[in-house]
């Protein structure tokens, strides 16, 4: 018992640190428009039990279904009752689990040293992922990316175990996790393909299973079944299966079209290097340098896992960088690979004390950066991960609406504009709140919130005296709030 504790307490500490970083003050950052949109969709599922996959504007269903038990456990049964902590806990818990899965991937039990990295490098890899700024930031964010990373790591761990033991249950687990990946986001095949190509590139010893075809079939069936269950809303919406395939048309258009999210090829690598914006420096140079050193070690050494990580990460970097559509949350897919490589570089150092000093220093620098992006400037536009983020002003809309409705309970709150997210989240549960993308004939109300582009048209249709004030939706996007004068 004591020996077991001694063996695992460092991993438990890393997991606890990961959990704290992912859950501390989880509700503090204002909701991003994408988070709000998905939280409102979750609210519908929570209230009605209905979910229909939408291939045009949303990703896969697992995020919403994963949030259900958390909402139930926290006693929240309606959209109005939901809060930021509940919805973000999905990513926070998945992100913490991902850290442990990376450790498991780096240190398969009873595996020969040539196939794993060893206990301390596995711990280092987990620690690097636990404190990596993009991993922490998007583990506190109600979007699919962290869930996809975790399901990918789970699939890899299961596949690795199957490879070693030959047990069909591991094949089944790998398939189920692959199905969860697919049911999380349309980009899942990229990571599955990258993992398979990397596996072929490193030429590992043959798997021990004597029934490989059966196991492969079992895994494929599990993957299809799991994905089909989610996309069909567990049988309630069979059209979701067709839409799951149609999603690739939308994804292709988005990835290569004029989406407004096109960025240069070096965008993702720059997130891991150095950038100075508005006087603030965001960098991960030590971690990035260690990862690059790990790639060199991977080529030079015979460590299969390290070489696999190098090839897998290179493929993912290339694929993401060559796609014109880029958003910073995709950077989380690079973290596990970089973490394994950085740990591999430390393990290759001849003296463990030097490795410890370098490792601790790199972790400390990463933690400083994480505190900056996740806690000090979580919604600041200079934060490279706070992408077109809502400004803190969005927190002021609800008190205004509540006050307006108490003054004039029979009049509506109107939100008029081409852009209004995340306001439906903040005004959830309030009566008589309506949203118009263009000014309606009757614009009067207890409170009229208007995006800047529609202000002239709305003012022309208002009757009576209104006081006008300004609140921001996000940096550079200002709303005008019309409040009836007493």
């Amino acid at each position: 018992m004591v020996a077991t504790l001694q063996r695992w307490w460092p991993f438990a500490l890393v997991a606890l640190a990961a959990l704290w970083l992912r859950t501390h003050e989880l509700a503090r950052r204002p909701m991003h428009a994408d988070e709000a949109n998905q939280a409102v969709k979750l609210g519908e599922l929570l209230e009605t039990g209905r979910y229909a996959y939408d291939p045009g504007d949303h990703h896969g269903p697992t995020l919403y279904y994963a949030a259900l038990p958390i909402a139930w456990l926290r006693g929240q049964r309606t959209l109005a009752a939901l809060d930021e902590t509940t919805v973000r806990l999905v990513s926070a818990l998945a992100g913490t689990l991902g850290v442990l899965l990376l450790a498991a991937l780096a240190m398969p039990p009873a595996l020969s040293r040539s196939n794993g990295l060893g206990r301390w490098p596995a711990l280092a890899a987990a620690a690097f992922m636990a404190v990596a700024p993009p991993a922490v930031y998007y583990s506190r964010y109600f979007v699919q990316e962290t869930l996809l990373v975790t399901f990918t790591l789970a699939a890899l761990v299961c596949a690795q175990r199957w490879w070693r033991t030959g047990r069909g249950s591991w094949a089944l687990g790998a398939g189920a996790c692959a199905g969860l990946m697919q049911a999380t986001k349309e980009s899942a095949p990229l990571f599955a393909l990258a993992a398979l190509i990397a596996l072929a590139a490193v030429r590992p010893p043959a798997p021990t299973s004597s029934r490989r075809a059966r196991d492969a079939l079992l895994a494929a069936l599990a993957a299809v079944m799991v994905a089909a269950l989610f996309y069909s809303s567990f049988g309630a919406h069979p059209a979701g299966l067709r839409d799951a395939l149609a999603a690739y048309g939308h994804a292709w258009t988005r990835a290569n079209g004029d989406s407004g999210h096109e960025k240069p090829g070096w965008y993702y690598l720059r997130l891991f290097a150095w950038q100075r914006t508005g006087g603030l420096v965001f960098e991960q140079l030590a971690f990035f340098a260690l990862a690059l050193a790990g790639a060199i070690v991977a080529v030079a050494s015979g460590k299969k896992l390290l070489r696999w990580a190098a090839v897998y990460t290179a493929i993912v970097v290339a694929a993401l960088s060559l796609t014109p559509y880029k958003t910073p949350w995709h950077a989380v897919h690079l973290v596990p690979g970089f973490a394994l490589l950085a740990a591999g570089a430390l393990a290759a150092l001849p003296r463990w004390r030097i490795a410890t000093v370098i490792g601790v220093a790199a972790l400390a620098l990463q933690t400083v950066q994480t505190s900056r992006v996740a806690f000090a400037y979580p919604a600041d536009e200079r934060n490279p991960y706070a992408y077109v983020h809502s400004s803190p002003d969005v927190l002021k809309f609800r008190p205004l609406a509540e006050a307006a409705l108490s003054r004039a309970p029979d009049r509506p709150v109107r939100v008029i504009g081409e852009e209004y997210w995340p306001l439906p989240w903040y005004l959830r549960g309030l009566p008589r709140v309506g949203y118009w993308s263009a000014p309606p004939a009757d614009c009067d109300g207890a409170l009229v919130i208007v995006s800047a582009g529609e202000v002239g048209a709305v003012r022309a249709r208002l009757h009576g005296a209104y006081r006008e004030s300004f609140l921001g939706l996000r940096p550079g996007v200002v709303c005008v709030v019309f409040t009836p004068s007493p």
Binding site: G278, G453, S469, G472, V478
Partner: protein, 219 residues
């Protein structure tokens, strides 16, 4: 004839008075616009519509000079994370990185000590002009003492919900541009100038690229 003479006399008297109170347009050295792309069109009745060209001049007494250049600046946030308080009066108004000071979240102020009492004609303030944003609760006060206890006068206040707890104001909110905001101080005599704000429509922070105080030293 007599009436004509009286009219002429009155005209000359007015002209003489006008000479004594000579008023000239306030000359402001403006930084270049930093807006990139097309700013969103905002046409609002309660603030100046974004002007395509030069805005109307503010007339100030002849002999008005810039009093604040290089003068000491203090703040409710004495250790700003970004920039230095000295940036507020250093004359650099470009608005690019390293030319503005960033104060912490919530209501904050900067204060300029003119060194001696002055008749203040105008105060120009540039918070941050590389993006369309509105600063909340902009309040400008002058006083005779550094603690703002004696003879405090409010020259501008657009804090319509009293978030800064200095009383509601009825002045107009405005969108930041490279032209800054020029406040008519109407000759208020004071040594200290204090400017408040309470975050902005983009974030909770408070920024100052430059503040210029124009007037004449009290003799």
């Amino acid at each position: 004839m007599n009436r004509s003479f009286r009219f002429l006399f009155a005209l000359l008297a007015c002209a003489a008075l006008a000479r004594a109170e000579d008023r000239v347009p306030l000359k402001l050295d403006l930084p270049k616009p930093l807006f990139v792309g097309t700013p969103r069109p905002i046409h609002l009745a309660n603030l100046e519509p974004p002007t395509a060209g030069k805005r109307p001049d503010l007339l100030v007494p002849a002999g008005t000079v810039l009093l604040s250049r290089g003068k000491p600046v203090t703040s409710s946030d004495s250790l700003p994370v970004i920039g230095e308080l000295a940036f507020v009066t250093d004359g650099e108004k470009s608005g690019v990185d390293d030319t503005y000071v960033e104060l912490g979240p919530g209501a904050q102020w900067v204060q300029i000590d003119l060194g001696a009492p002055a008749k203040i004609a105008a105060i120009a303030v540039w918070h941050f002009h590389s993006q369309a944003r509105v600063y909340h609760a902009v309040i400008v006060q002058v006083a005779d003492d550094a603690a703002f206890k004696t003879n405090v006068r409010t020259l501008f206040n657009n804090d319509d919900d009293n978030s800064a707890k200095l009383g509601k104001g009825s002045d107009l909110a405005y969108i930041e541009t490279y032209q800054g905001r020029v406040i008519d101080a109407k000759g208020a005599a004071a040594r200290y100038v204090r400017l408040y704000s309470n975050g902005n429509t983009s974030d909770e922070l408070n920024h100052y690229v430059e503040v210029e105080v124009f007037g004449q030293p009290v003799k």
